[in-house]
């Protein structure tokens, strides 16, 4: 099973990287961009075939290692083999 974990800085927290990217995009002509949040994405291949168990395990990974919940939020998706 293939899953994707996305980790973003928490909404209310300063995201200097996102801000720098937005400013740079504006400088090169993408004036259309209102906001950028810059985070991490992990594509994870698991042995687990059960969707629910996999989700549970992934959330556990986020709490334990992939995300720092003091400053980051995370989201977990199952990709069902079709990667973007």
């Amino acid at each position: 099973m293939i899953a994707r974990v996305t980790v973003y800085p928490r909404r209310e927290i300063l995201d200097p990287q996102g801000k720098a990217i937005r400013d740079a995009l504006a400088r090169v002509g993408f004036a259309d961009v209102l906001e950028v949040r810059a985070g991490k994405s992990f594509e994870i291949r698991l042995q687990q075939e059960d969707r629910e168990l996999a989700l549970r395990e992934l959330r556990e990974m986020c709490r334990k290692l992939l995300a720092n919940t003091v400053v980051e939020d995370y989201a977990v998706e199952i990709l069902n083999g079709d990667r973007p």
Binding site: P9, R10, E12, I13, L14, D15, A20, D23, N68
Partner: protein, 745 residues
């Protein structure tokens, strides 16, 4: 007087609400009397911040007065954003140290990073260009919960920030002790240089001068940071956790350049960073020092997200922000410079002559407070102090096992070198850029770091020191020892001290034992400073370092700065030439109280710490400086934790050059190889200089003995019979890998 607006959602001020913000009933009463009416929520918040321990020093002030703060080199003592000392050639050094303990425990990366950011701003706020940082770190036992995460995060955070701003981190110290399991210490030091006549102060003056806001926008970050730093940790602080402050070192770097550029122009009257308690402390302190008042128009404060209340704006601790008082009519000149560096600037108010702070928002007056009563005249407490009940037991002379009982001196040495406490800290400092700015002549890994003063022949030396175990056993001796050790480290590179800064990390001052520890430590430091002629020019107090009622060891970190007249004959901290004679300076008295040997090998933390003989320290330091300035020594390294054996081994590690010493003549053997008697150092010199070195020592009144020679690839110690012999490479491996091994890397 017109009425004060009360925000719709804001609670009325009650004694209970005040207490929740750390304001006592008496303090609320005092505020009430000052205003002649009830304060509103915003006013209470501002007062709580200004009267917090962190901003007001209310429990420490009475003792801090005992420090000597003046001297021939002092240009600016405590009271400004940083201390200033003259270092010659028209230059001054501007430096300070500050704690970021609580934020680092919550979020180590950001906590440590913003600690570095804050101390850098304190320095460049004075018009100085930062040229070096030190970090003094205290962690718990590596196996304690979260500790690996905390260590990793703190080290990354310090590097992440300092490296990016481009200020070298040239030294520091790192210790591990179970007393920090629930409350680590992160003390950041920064030093900058400026021309003597180009120092800026944070005194708002000139009614009508505009107040500018420059840098990052204001968000809800760290609201209550100052009051949090004034409380102890408990299960609840998890829930009270404010929005973590995130550092943006890139913005700091451009802010630094913009500020220094703007300060060159003459359009700036005063400038101050927004540190703890953000806009509140910066504006109130500036007006308080200047004896002026101000009007702030909060609608003009640049916000990161809409909807912040006046309370939130005044207490936000968003990073990388400055308040600038410009000369009226020249504000555009200042603003242009900030904009050129890509920074936002806004005029948010003006200086007045009223002595009051008036805050306006949405067409209403939302706060109106007298400034000096809140700042200069904040409450001061002399807290009850009492020595711990078990002091006598703690100080009872310990049993000192001989190494022979446990596999001999070599085994003891190997075990000591293999602890994270005494092992090399290079795993940490290789993550810090210590060579950027090309000023670093001696970086981390030696006794004191050495920076050159470009364009002159001289240099600056810096080092931070403290031994918390000594301080726990006898805070007065421990306080004095920290000052003495820092001076000894400086003397090893030939530096004459010109001033020091400190960061006094203690438990809850409302606990009489802590209050006593604080008083004793400060007195010990003050006595040492006086005797050694080193003024205290800045510093910081961090109280409430305790978890679930358990205080940390008293940890008064000292960072000392010295001047080296010429860098031509700088000795190394390690042996550099085979055949060089090794001379031990100072005499052992077999002192083991609080020693690394007892603590790390036998888990005994008991006894009186080694006595500090300030006269002996002074004689030793003078001798070392003299030896260095005459180019008589190739190596100089002081004795500290682990005593003679550890110092000798360290001196071998730099180049992998061995040493053979015979200690029979001075009667040093057994456990005393590891004794921690103070006022001692190892030097090495060319064989032909040995006699001269011994003579100089005799003239200086410092006991000295030629104990052997450097050379070969073995470390060999005998005293009568052979005490230990081992290949340097093997010992070095144990020492160099100690920390990563303990971290499981």
């Amino acid at each position: 007087m017109a009425s004060i607006a009360r925000g719709e959602a804001e609670p009325p001020v009650t004694a209970e609400l005040a207490r929740a913000q750390g304001v006592t009933a008496e303090e609320l009463e005092r505020l009430h009397a000052m205003l002649g009416r009830d304060p509103n929520y915003t006013e209470l918040g501002i007062t709580a911040a200004l009267w917090s321990e962190h901003c007001s020093y209310k429990s420490s002030k009475v003792y801090l007065k005992e420090f000597p703060t003046s001297g021939p080199h002092v240009v600016q003592g405590p009271g400004e954003n940083a201390g200033v000392v003259d270092v010659g050639h028209g230059w001054v050094a501007v430096f300070k140290m500050e704690s970021h303990n609580h934020p680092s425990f919550i979020e180590p990366y950001q906590g440590a990073a913003t600690g570095v950011g804050g101390i850098l701003r304190d320095v460049f706020t004075m018009g100085a260009r930062p040229i070096a940082c030190l970090d003094a770190l205290r962690f718990g036992e590596i196996d304690a919960p979260r500790m690996r995460f905390l260590i990793d995060g703190v080290v990354r955070g310090i590097g992440g920030y300092g490296n990016c701003v481009g200020i070298p981190t040239v030294g520091g110290e790192t210790g591990f002790h179970s007393c920090y399991n629930g409350n680590i210490l992160v003390n950041a030091f920064a030093l900058g240089i400026a021309r003597r006549d180009h120092i800026f102060k944070a005194r708002a003056s000139g009614a009508g001068n505009p107040i500018l806001y420059a840098g990052s926008r204001t968000g809800r970050d760290g609201i209550h940071g100052a009051t949090m730093a004034s409380e102890s940790f408990d299960a609840e602080s998890e829930a009270k956790r404010p929005t973590v402050q995130v550092g943006d070192p890139f913005t700091e770097k451009v802010l630094l350049e913009a500020c220094l550029e703007a300060m060159r122009g003459g359009a700036i009257v005063a400038i101050q960073d927004m540190g703890a308690a953000g806009l509140t402390s910066s504006t109130f302190e500036m007006a308080g020092r200047g004896g002026t008042g101000m009007v702030l128009d909060l609608d003009r404060v640049p916000l990161r997200e809409p909807g912040l209340t006046p309370y939130e704006m005044m207490l936000s601790e968003s990073q990388e922000r400055m308040v600038v008082v410009a000369r009226r009519g020249q504000e555009e000149e200042v603003a242009r410079i900030f904009r050129r560096w890509g920074l936002e600037v806004a005029a948010i108010g003006e200086v007045t002559a009223t002595g009051r702070a008036e805050l306006r928002w949405h067409g209403e007056r939302v706060a109106d407070l007298p400034i000096q009563p809140l700042t200069e005249e904040a409450p001061v407490y002399r807290r009850p102090a009492a020595p711990p009940a078990d002091l006598a037991a703690r100080q009872a002379p310990p049993q000192v096992p001989q190494p022979a009982d446990q596999g001999g001196a070599l085994a003891a040495l190997e075990r000591l070198l293999g602890t994270p406490e005494l092992g090399s800290k290079e795993w940490i400092w290789h993550q810090y850029d210590y060579s950027v700015r090309t000023g670093t002549v001696v970086g981390p890994g030696a006794d004191a770091a050495v920076l050159r003063l470009k364009g002159t022949s001289s240099g600056l030396a810096l080092k931070s020191d403290v031994n918390p175990v000594y301080c726990a056993l006898d805070p007065r001796t421990g306080g004095a020892q920290a000052v003495a050790e820092a001076m000894r480290n400086l003397a090893c590179v030939g530096a004459e001290p010109v001033g020091l800064t400190d960061c006094l990390n203690f438990g809850n001052p409302e606990n009489p034992e802590v209050s006593w520890q604080f008083r004793e430590a400060v007195r010990g430091m003050a006595a040492a400073c006086r005797a050694l002629g080193v003024p205290v020019v800045s510093g910081n107090v961090s109280f409430y370092n305790e978890t679930e009622g358990r205080s940390i060891h008293p940890t008064p970190t000292v960072a000392m700065v010295g001047v080296i007249p010429s860098l031509d004959d700088l000795p190394a901290g390690h042996f550099t030439g085979a055949g060089d004679r090794i001379v031990l300076l100072g005499r052992d008295r077999g002192e083991h109280g609080g020693s690394a040997y007892l603590r790390l090998l036998y888990d005994v933390e008991q006894g009186r710490p080694p006595a500090v003989d300030l006269d002996a320290e002074l004689r030793l330091a003078r001798l070392l400086r003299r030896l260095v300035s005459r180019g008589l020594v190739t190596t100089a390294h002081d004795l500290a934790e682990g005593g003679f054996a550890v110092a000798l081994a360290e001196a071998c590690f730099g180049r992998g050059l061995g040493a053979a010493v015979d200690l029979e003549g001075i009667g040093l053997a057994g456990a005393d190889l590891f004794s921690e008697t103070q006022a001692r150092a190892l030097v090495a010199c060319r064989p032909e200089a040995a006699e001269r070195v011994l003579r100089e020592a005799e003239e200086a009144g410092v006991p000295a003995a030629d104990v052997g020679a450097a050379g070969g690839d073995q470390l060999a110690v005998k005293s009568g019979g052979e005490l230990l012999r081992a290949p340097v490479a093997a010992l070095r491996e144990i020492w160099a890998t100690a920390l990563p091994r303990a971290l499981g890397l």
